[in-house]
Structures are given as structure tokens and as C-alpha cells.
Symmetry: C2
Subunit: 736 residues, 2 copies
């Protein structure tokens, strides 16, 4: 049963919170967390019909059958992430959870027995355990079964559900053993035992509160639920509700970025379902104007071609098919009946065996899916939505394209120092890229599978991104705490049929330096093409060196200027702040005019960045890989536009996708940039860019005024009217 | 109508060759090259039925309709490959050919008119042309419409068919103009005008003879056909039949490798069809024991996951869906009715609008396709099949794997200096890789789209491959002519249920140095795994430096030995023979024992090369990209095993695929090599390798005797019997 349906049944919260603390009315019911008794009845009746649900059921049942044919193994904790005992305990909680579901649906005793026996094995092991031998040095949150309590909390989230699912098959004595020797100690260890983690407004805290809160429902400990919701001291300063209030912006953006957003989503969605089923009067789905649904939807929006935009610490292969988002989409469809979510569910190709999962499965059976609409939007950052924003621009003109612009807040410890950076995607691939996290998840040989040292020394540093670096020093001097206190400002965002434009600025990334960037993704339907316009203003009180890197994906094809390559020796570009990881492969100082760099992406298309330069910029061509003794980094390419000794500089450029390279079919089209003119001027608050492309002339006007009302201006003796922020005007045809 | 059906109709060659020279009996018939009048009747009748054929017809018709809506453009030749006029003339001949087919099938006059008008435009232009302005300096074979006559010959191959298809729609005057001003001059230019190219036993010669020969059929010039078949002087020293005799081995391997094989295939297949239709008495399909069919089949065999093995000059994205092989597979199915070819046709997803194409389409409509069987085989090289061989080993144990071993001949000008090199493929990807050709086909900015200078300076050099380099000098000192005169020897090849083994050697790659390599792809079904065993013996008269490079695809994960990386400076490894293009990223000198290098491929799997070393080998880790001023090379990784001052050295190693890295689903399995023991010994002609992997012990025995009969031997006090070349024996279990 969905959150909403349960809640709308209730006219108002009848029971007082005081009463709720005493005991739960639904106490006798098992299961009653994500899956309710009522869900079970409906699910059982769907097993005989052909369709997505029964298909998933029989496939999972056969998997579980294979697994439970082996004796269960509950090893003494020994290994860190990726190691045997770590992976075994992870597997165990997933297996118990699945076996529990199969038990409820099949009503076959053997599945309950398997879960029961494993729980009893854990109940024997757990009391003997000290903190994990492979815990991280100085860690505030070691686990016992796992090296960090985060994994322990995840274990509890799954295991408490498994326990709830098999509860009615257990004897009182078994219940007593499992609760007293295992579930209570784990819940207490994760709450009272680690108050800092439990109360922290952070995804680790969400897993802990979700596990402990659900244990409270199952074991009739309303106090635990209160603490999970409102902090150990029930002050409301921490806890699950505070996490819902602070970790998402009003638009549902999680300030660590989509990689952690999808990770954080699961305990939010899971615990919220449990709350809705046990205490509908809390109206959790309506909390903060439906923040949970917004959070789910925003996670989907922050993907391209099935993968999340890899901002901050993000492993790039994570995408919308992640199990956390499968749960999220399942709940989102159940809450809204929006058939766009079925499109995502279809792409995910996974069905959850729950009441909501049944609803999705049956809708998919009926072919109700409609295309999910990816939109251009500015997702406000911070709990008030005013700490900058993460901006997504999209278009279908000339292919499926996306531009990500990041005038967003720091995003806690996993945040990167990349204010106002951007990324560009086309025809399924990264074109202007972000390194993501430097990490090989669970690969023991790579720093134990943890974040690599190069994550700090390179991936987080500003130069690893596509934004301005002043004096080879990262934003906020790479201080997370300073970064967390200083968000950029989103000046404006607008989307219309001519394209999408956004502008952001920050004056705190460096002392005495203002960074302001305006990016526009402009449709040029006459050319079946899109261009990205970038105007980056740097204004400083003193003279500095300004670097603007662009990390491109592909093979360099051509430059419009002579490039002096370092052919026999390479040296690192710098000694710190990420520069020590860049080999300087070549450099150039293009003359006044247009400086073009063309590369070929693996998608078989060409991309040219045309920069408007005055002869004062150096172009430094780099490859990642210096000071990398363990070959931990990917050897990707980029170039840095650099000016020295400047107080003020404007980096102007357009990025232009063009042509096609098809060696298989043996044709190559438009391998050469079509941009023949790029000029830039200001008229008060108006930025005016003249652009000639493929014989057509355009004037692009961007109104940067605080309030963009209708604006009439004259340019080259012609009069123009601009409504809103972005105007694109076809000028005379120069040539054909 | 197929080659075979036409031929089997005839009991014997009734007409003498002398008679055939005088005139063709089929003279009046148009069309009568690849498509006959009879084919046209059958094809027309298939257009009203739903299916692959009519679908392709209507789709092509609509494409052609779009194209012919524009006025035809026949520009004065100006640009080289990839340039406008080059691409336009290519497009024109394809368009004329297609419009000709649509004319025959639709019987609508407008298609014939379009071809006619374009032919007349060409007839006006052609007499005014001198050789192409962008012809290559010193080229013996410039074209007029194109920079090289190869393209001009391709133009003729298509255009003569187009002309044949619309012939019956032309007036006598139009026929006269087109033949006298265009087709005859082109045919004469490509034959008498360029005797060296026309007579050359080389794919350029095949295109020329095919074009000229077909022109002979269409324009009733039996003399042209004779010259096309038997050399301009009709001596049989050159010409199409000599090409069939010399360019393919008896097994149908084309000595330049599969990339050029598929390219060469089209004129062979096309002209052969025309010969069969016009002069069935020549029994062209039966020529040399059906060499044409073998050539087609071998081209398919020399692919992995849809792409050709990239030996020699090869662009790596070329694969079985190339149009040349679509024609080839169409003919192969028609000749054999082997439904395995339909599997390939299905993967190609293209239907040829011809009589044979109709047969394929109808068979696909009926769902007759069965899986095409890729086999382990040694494809003999050279016209006698005895100039070494190209060896393919395949297995399905532990995934779809292929090992390519190359004790093959040089393969003319496009050959690489890589005797005894190997490549390895698993789960769809390259694992141990070959650079292929250094070329961006038709990309003007990259050296005019031609082979890059780095193709000679790097891609062809021995160090760019996975085989031994002596004293940093390439095989045959990189002399093509020396290479062509000296092929390796295939010692043996054997495939059985335990695996596949092959051995080859060459003593002429270097003066006074014998290179002998034995490779085995061994199934270990108990471990659901395969390993590749490599034993490379180098024996020299004097002391030398021996290098054995391994170019791996992926990210270095771990080495079992300490690696001294060059972290702040990189230098080129050498100054010539390809070494100048390698950055030395790090080095190590592993101690006596097992030296492991583990990498992670993009397919999410780990691969470990375990080398058996005695403490005398250095491991040099390299990245391609030094001395590359225009960023022409891909920056791929490798390592070189090196010994100095040796007369004799045996490089022993196993390559082991293992585990899985799945950051999306957040699991990592078996990231660490399971090989714990590797020992090597010789007993007479027997090579004995002890291998412990994942707690299991195996003895691998390879019989290198000239004649491998039943062999009984004792090893560690146990007796073994080896039938054939390769034995794999499970020994005691060391541990579990």
C-alpha cells in the first residue's frame, strides 16, 4: 500500500505523539515495514498470472533456491571492503531479505527456516564481537560485522525487514534470542553507541536512523522511533526528519550530488514507507511539501543516457538502474500514478516484490509507460534552495544533448572544489568531462577499494574540473569547511524555444576575486545543431594568473594554431593542487582571433571549442598521470587556457558538435568547425555575441540585468527586442 | 541467379575460348552482370510480399527518391580523400548504382533518367580531365576523378553496373556518347593507361580488372575481359585469375589480413558473378577448388564480436557488417544454402537487392538462420598455404574468448613487422591488443586522411606488437621486401576438448636469431575459466637484448613486485624503430619467481599476466605518445619484459582472466590472480608446465616433436600418456 493512499485515508492525526510513544497500534502485525500484510495478500494473488511481477518472483525464487541449497555461512569479521567476510555479510543480509519475501509469497517454511537459522547464527556470533579489525584509523564510526558502521546500518535496514517477514514463523524463544542477542545490540550499537553518526545530518545518519527506527517498529520500541526521527535527545536537532529538512533542497536536490543522492535515497524511501504503514498520522509523504517524491524525481533528472552526472565524488558507471532508484521509482509511481516513471522502470528492468512493486509490474504489463520527460531546470541547492543551484540544460536539436552547469554549494566532504564548472554530453557520451571520483570500489589492490589518495590530490582539486583556477590554487584553498560556508549565487536560469541560459557567480572561492560565468545551450535548428556558449568573467583586485581548463573526451584532431608539443620529455605542470598530476604535453599562444581545438569522440562525432582570444592566452595541453606511482589515475586529456598578471579577463568560447566519423562505412562528414566568426561585446547589462556558423550569421543577446524585462536595443544600426534572458537573431546570410 | 546454379546447368564448356573472344552470346541481354534479367523478374514479383526484401527495397527507394530530388552534381575534381569532390564522386557512383536497381525493380522512367543525365554529365566532364591535382607525389596510380586510380576503378565497378541496369532506357546516341566519351576512356585509362596497376597481383589490380572486365561484358569487348582475366599481354602472369591464385591461400586467407581481405572481396565477388552470368563455361566459382567461397568464409572467421582482427594496416572499427562482406555473405549463402551464413546476414542487417539477396531475404523471412560456427583454425598463408599461417583459437569456456597467433607472412606493403605476435579477446573486448593502423580515414586534418607518418614510425614496427624485439630493431629491419621473402613456419596446430595449441618459428626476422613461440588456449572447465599459456624461445648466436612487449587494454590494477614509476618526468624509451613513441612510465626488476601484472578492462573483468622470471628480466611500463607532435597516436599502455646480453632466453607466462568489477551493482569478485605456481621444464621434445590455480594443480604437456604420436612420459614419479600435441592433467588438490 502506498504512502499517499494510507495517508489520505486519515483525516487528521488522531493519536497524539505522546500516545504513539507508549506503543504502536499496529504492533501485532507482521510484516508491516515496507511490505504490509495487505500487500502480501495482493501479491500472492498475482503469482498465478503471467506478467512482470510473477516473472520477477519466479526468477528471484530460483536464485534464492540456489543460494539456500548451500549451508549458510556467517564468518567472523576479518576483511575490509571487497574482502571475503565483508562481501559475505553483505550477501547474507540481501539473502535473508529476499528469502523473507519469498517466504511470505510462497508460504513455504524452508525459506523462513533459512532466515531463522542465519539470524540465530548471527545471534551467536554478535555478542562475541569487538569493533572490526580493519576499521579505518581514527574513524569515528567503525562497525563490528563491517569495517564501518555505515555497512552495519545497511545490514540492519535489510535484516530488520527480513526478521519482520519471517516473524510469524518464529517461536517465542527464537524471537527472544534473536532480539536480545542480535537486533537490540545492533540497534543500540548504531544509536546510543555511536551518537555522532546517529545524530549526524548526513547519509550515514540516515541509514542508522532508518535501521534503528524500523527496529523500533518491529520490536515495539516507540522510543527508538522517536530518537530516529528527532535525534537521540529528541530535540529535533538531528534525526530523520532533520535529514529530510536539511539534506534536500526544496526542489529535492541532495547537496552531495546525484551519486550520493541515489545512495541516500534508499533509507529515506524505506523508512518513510515503514513510518507511513505504522504511523500514517505522521504524514511522512507530505512532509515538507512532498520532499521525498521531489528527491526521487530529481535523482532521475540528474542523469544522462542512464548514468548520473558525475559531479563530486561519483563513480561514473552508476546510473538509474541502481537498486536504490528502483525502489525510489517504484514508490514514485505508486504515489503519483505518473506513467513517465514506468518508462524509467522499464529501463531499470527490475521489479520490486512489494505492494508498490506489484502496482508498477501490473502497469508495465498493461503497456502504460509513456516517455519520461527530462527537462532543463535549475535545482536549487541547500536546505533553503538558495545556496546556488545545479543547472541542467537539455535539447533534442541535433541529437540528445545535455549541459550541466554547477553554481552549486560545496556538498560536504564528498564535494569537489569546482564552483561554476560545466560538463557537456552529446549522442550518449561525455564530451566535456568531469573526472568523477578517483576510486576503484571494493578493489583491494587499489587502496583497499576506498577513495584513492589521488581523489584528494587530484579529483577534488579545481584544475580537475572545467572552471577557473586562480594562481594554481583550488577554490577555498581546498578547505571543505570554508566551502560549505560559501555557496555561489545563481543569478538566473531561463529556458525557451531558442535555448537555455544560466548565470552564476561567486566571490568567496578566492580572496579578492570575483568569478562569474554565463552558459547557454543554443538551438540552431536551421543547422540541425546546437552550440554551447560560455562567457566566464574573472575580476580581481590584484594581478593573478587565471587558468580555465577544459577536459575533453576523445582524440585531438586539430588546432587552428601551431602547437609546440613536448615530444621527447614530459614534465608535470606543477607541484601541487592537482597540477602535479598533469603532464604538460604541449603549448601554444594563439594569435588574436579565433583559437580552435577539435577532437573526435568515441561516439564518432567531432567537437570544436572555438575560443575568442586576444593573443594574451596560452593554451597548455595536458594529460592526467604525473605523480601517480601506482597508476591510479585515468590518463585523460585536456587543455588549459592561461593568462598571467591580469586583474580582469573574460574567457569567451563556443563548443560546437559537428560532423561524423564513420570508418566502418567509410565516410567522414564535416570534420572541420563551421564557426567562422565569434565576437563579443557588452551594452550595459546586455552581453552580445556575434556568431557566424556555416555561412549563417546570428546575434546572441543575453540580458544579465537583475530583473530581465522587455528590452529594446540597437546593434549595428538595427533594432532588436529581447523578452527575457536569451535572444537569438538570424542576421544576413554571408555566404552559402 | 547464383554462380553455382548457372554452372551446374552446363555439363561442360561448350564454347571454346577462341569463340568467346570473338563475341558474347549474352550480348543483347541487359542487365547481365551481378543482376540478370531473370533475377529482375523474380525480384519484381517479391516486392508485393512483406518481408526483408521488399522492406529493403522500399527503404532504398525512399533514400534514392530523396537524393534524386536534388539536381545531380558532377564537380570538377579538386579534393583528396574526405574532401568535397572526392566524397561527391563516391556518392555519385553509389547513387547511380542504386537508382539503376530501383529503375529495374520499379520500372519507373525517372530513375533511368537520373542515371542517364548523370552519365551524360560525366561524359561531358571526363574528356577534359588531366590526372587529379591532389594525386600523391610519386604515385604510379593517380586517378582523374579521384586522387588515386583505386577510387577510379571502384567508380567504374559501380558505374558500369548502373549503366548496364539502365541500358535499355537509353537511345543509341546516348549509348554512343556515354560509351565513347566516358566508359571506354575510363576503362582504357585503368587498363592500358596504367599497366603496372592493372597487372599487379594486389587488391588495386582486382578493382581495376573487375571494372574493366565488366565493361568488356557490357560493351561487347571480349578482349578486355581476356586482359582483365589474364594480364594485359594475356600471358596469365597478372590478371584476375592470377589474383585468385596468388592473393588467397588454399584456405582462403588473403595475405594482407582481414581488413584488406574484406575490401578485396567485393571486386572478386562482383566480377566473379558477372563472369558466371556471362560465361558460365569458365566455372569461376569452382576455380581453385572453390577459392572464392573459402575467401568469403575465412573473412567471417577472422572476426571477433563483429569486428575483424586488426592485424597489419587495419582500422579497428571495421567488421562483418561492412558492405563488401554483405555482398560476400549473400553469395556464400546462395552458393551453399548453409544457414549459418544467415546468422551473419542477420547481424549485418542489410539486404542486397539482387537475385542472391532475394534468396537471403526470403530465407531470413522464413527464420532459417542457425548459429554461424566460429572455429579454431590455422589459416595457411601464402598462395601455397605454406608461408606460415594465421592461427585463431576460440573457446566458450568462461566466456566468449579468442586468441589470435600470427606466424604469418609479411602481407605486402600493408603488413606489419610482427612475426609470431598474438592478441587476446574476452567478453567482447580486446585484452591483449594490437595497435592496428595509425590512420583517421578521410579526416583531412589528420594527414589528409591517409596513413599517418606514425603508421610507419610506430604502428608497423615490431615494438608496437606483442612479440620479441631484438636490440630495439624491428623484424627484417623493417624492410617489406625482405619480409615478403621470408615467412615464418607453422610448426603445428591442434585443437581438442582440452584446448588449442599452436607453435611457429622464424629464423630470418633477425640475422643469427631464432624465434620460436608456442601458444595454448587451455580450457579449465572446473574453474569455469580459460588460461592462455605462452612460451617464447629466443636463441641467438651472439649476445643481444631481447624485449617482449605486451600491450594491454585497461587500467593497471596491481603488480606483484615493486614498481618504480617515473612520477615527475617522462622520457621516450628509445630513439627509433617505434621506441621513440613510447614514454617510459616506470620500471621494475622482479625477483626470481612469479611476476604478476593485473589490469582491469572496460568489460569489467580483471586480467593477470603471470610471468615466470629468474631475476634477470626488467619490466618496463610504457605509454604510447612520445614524439607525436600532432597527437596522432592513441595513448595506450603496455609493458616490456627485457633481458640484456643473452644468447638464449625463454619467456614463459600465463594470461588469466578473472573476477568481475561491477561498481554499478557494487560488487567486486576475484580481483586477485589465482595462479600460485608456474613452473616450466623440457623433457626432450616435451614442454612441461606445472600450474596451480585456485587451489587446483595442473600439468600441461605440449609435444613439440616433428611428428606427434602417442607419447608416454614420467613426471615427478608419475606416468602420463599424451596423445597428440596438448595434454592437460589434473594433479593433486593443494588446498581448497
Amino acid at each position: 500500500m502506498s504512502l499517499l493512499s494510507l495517508q489520505t485515508k486519515l483525516t487528521a492525526g488522531v493519536m497524539s505523539v505522546v500516545l504513539a510513544i507508549a506503543s504502536f497500534s499496529s504492533l501485532a502485525a507482521h510484516p508491516n515495514l515496507v511490505i504490509t500484510q495487505n500487500d502480501v495478500i495482493k501479491m500472492r494473488s498475482a503469482l498465478d498470472s503471467k506478467g512482470h511481477f510473477s516473472e520477477r518472483y519466479y526468477s528471484l525464487k530460483s536464485q534464492v533456491d540456489q543460494e539456500i541449497a548451500f549451508p549458510s555461512v556467517v564468518p567472523v569479521p576479518k576483511d575490509g571492503g571487497g574482502g571475503y567476510t565483508h562481501e559475505r555479510h553483505k550477501k547474507n543480509y540481501q539473502l535473508m531479505y529476499r528469502a523473507g519475501i519469498i517466504y511470505q509469497l510462497s508460504q513455504e517454511q524452508k525459506y523462513a527456516d533459512y532466515v531463522r537459522d542465519m539470524l540465530l547464527q548471527y545471534a551467536t556470533l554478535y555478542p562475541s564481537l569487538d569493533v572490526h579489525p580493519k576499521r579505518k584509523v581514527k574513524s569515528q564510526n567503525p562497525g563490528k560485522l563491517f569495517w564501518q558502521s555505515l555497512n552495519e546500518a545497511m545490514w540492519l535496514v535489510y535484516t530488520i525487514q527480513a526478521y519482520d517477514l519471517v516473524h510469524n514463523a518464529l517461536t517465542d524463544q527464537q524471537i527472544n534470542t534473536i532480539e536480545q542477542q542480535l537486533l537490540r545490540p545492533v540497534a543500540l550499537f548504531l544509536s546510543e553507541g555511536q551518537p555522532t553518526t546517529f545524530n549526524k545530518v548526513h547519509n550515514h545518519g540516515t541509514w542508522a536512523t532508518a535501521g534503528v527506527g524500523m527496529a523500533g517498529y518491529v520490536m515495539n520500541e516507540p522510543e527508538w522511533v522517536e530518537k530516529a526521527l528527532y535525534d537521540l535527545d529528541k530535540s529535533g536537532k538531528g534525526g530523520f526528519l532533520k535529514q529530510l529538512d536539511l539534506l534536500f533542497s526544496p526542489q529535492g536536490y541532495y547537496n552531495e550530488g546525484p551519486y550520493y543522492q541515489r545512495f541516500a535515497l534508499l533509507p529515506f524511501v524505506t523508512f518513510a514507507q515503514a513510518i507511513a504503514h505504522n504511523e500514517p498520522e505522521r504524514k511522512i509523504a507530505e512532509h515538507r511539501d512532498g520532499i521525498l517524491l521531489k528527491a526521487i524525481d530529481t535523482t532521475i533528472q540528474l542523469s544522462y543516457n542512464g548514468l548520473f552526472f558525475p559531479i563530486n565524488d561519483a563513480i561514473k558507471s552508476k546510473g538509474i538502474d541502481t537498486i536504490e532508484l528502483v525502489h525510489g521509482v517504484t514508490v514514485a509511481y505508486s504515489l503519483t500514478n505518473d506513467t513517465g516513471y514506468l518508462d524509467i522502470a522499464k529501463q531499470q528492468g527490475q521489479i520490486i516484490l512489494s505492494g508498490d512493486g506489484l502496482k508498477v509490474a501490473q502497469a508495465l504489463d498493461k503497456g502504460l509507460a509513456t516517455p519520461y520527460e527530462f527537462k532543463s531546470a535549475a535545482f536549487g541547492d541547500g536546505n533553503d534552495g538558495k545556496q546556488g543551484a545545479l543547472v541542467v540544460m537539455r535539447t533534442q536539436v541535433g541529437g540528445n544533448q545535455a549541459l550541466l552547469f554547477k553554481p552549486a554549494a560545496q556538498g560536504l566532504g564528498h564535494g569537489h572544489f569546482d564552483k561554476l564548472t560545466w560538463q557537456f554530453y552529446d549522442h550518449g557520451n561525455e564530451i566535456v568531462s568531469d573526472y568523477g571520483a578517483a576510486r576503484f570500489l571494493n578493489v583491494e589492490a587499489k587502496y583497499g577499494g576506498r577513495y584513492l589518495p589521488e581523489n584528494n590530490s587530484y579529483a577534488k582539486q579545481t584544475v580537475a574540473h572545467n572552471t577557473v583556477v586562480v594562481d594554481e590554487t583550488s577554490h577555498f584553498n581546498a578547505s571543505v569547511s570554508v566551502g560549505n560556508r560559501n555557496a555561489p549565487t545563481l543569478n538566473f536560469f531561463e529556458t525557451s524555444n531558442v535555448g537555455t541560459v544560466s548565470s552564476g557567480e561567486i566571490s568567496t572561492a578566492y580572496n579578492g576575486v570575483e568569478l562569474a560565468r554565463t552558459l547557454a545551450l543554443i538551438n540552431v535548428p536551421e543547422l540541425d545543431s546546437t552550440i554551447a556558449l560560455d562567457v566566464f568573467d574573472v575580476t580581481a583586485q590584484a594581478e593573478h594568473q587565471f587558468d580555465l581548463p577544459l577536459h575533453y573526451k576523445g582524440q585531438l584532431i586539430d588546432t587552428s594554431f601551431a602547437l609546440r608539443a613536448n615530444t621527447t620529455q614530459l614534465a608535470a605542470l606543477g607541484s601541487k593542487n592537482g597540477y602535479q598530476h598533469l603532464w604538460l604535453k604541449g603549448q601554444a599562444k594563439p594569435k588574436n582571433g579565433l583559437a580552435k581545438v577539435t577532437w573526435l569522440n568515441d561516439n564518432g562525432r567531432f567537437y570544436t571549442q572555438t575560443s575568442l582570444v586576444k593573443g594574451d592566452e596560452s593554451f597548455l595541453f595536458t594529460q592526467i598521470g604525473a605523480n601517480d606511482p601506482n597508476f591510479n589515475l585515468r590518463n585523460e586529456n585536456g587543455f588549459i587556457r592561461r593568462v598571467n598578471g591580469q586583474k580582469k579577463h573574460t574567457f569567451v568560447s563556443v563548443l560546437e558538435p559537428h560532423g561524423e566519423y564513420n570508418p566502418s562505412k567509410e565516410y567522414t562528414l564535416e570534420a572541420v568547425s563551421r564557426v567562422t566568426k565569434l565576437e563579443y561585446s557588452q551594452q550595459g547589462d546586455l552581453t552580445l555575441v556575434e556568431l557566424d556558423i556555416k555561412g549563417k550569421s546570428y546575434l546572441v543577446a543575453i540580458n544579465k540585468a537583475q530583473n530581465a524585462t522587455k528590452n529594446t536595443f540597437t546593434f549595428k544600426n538595427k533594432e532588436f527586442t529581447l523578452n527575457g534572458r536569451l535572444g537569438v537573431y538570424a542576421m544576413k546570410n554571408n555566404q552559402e
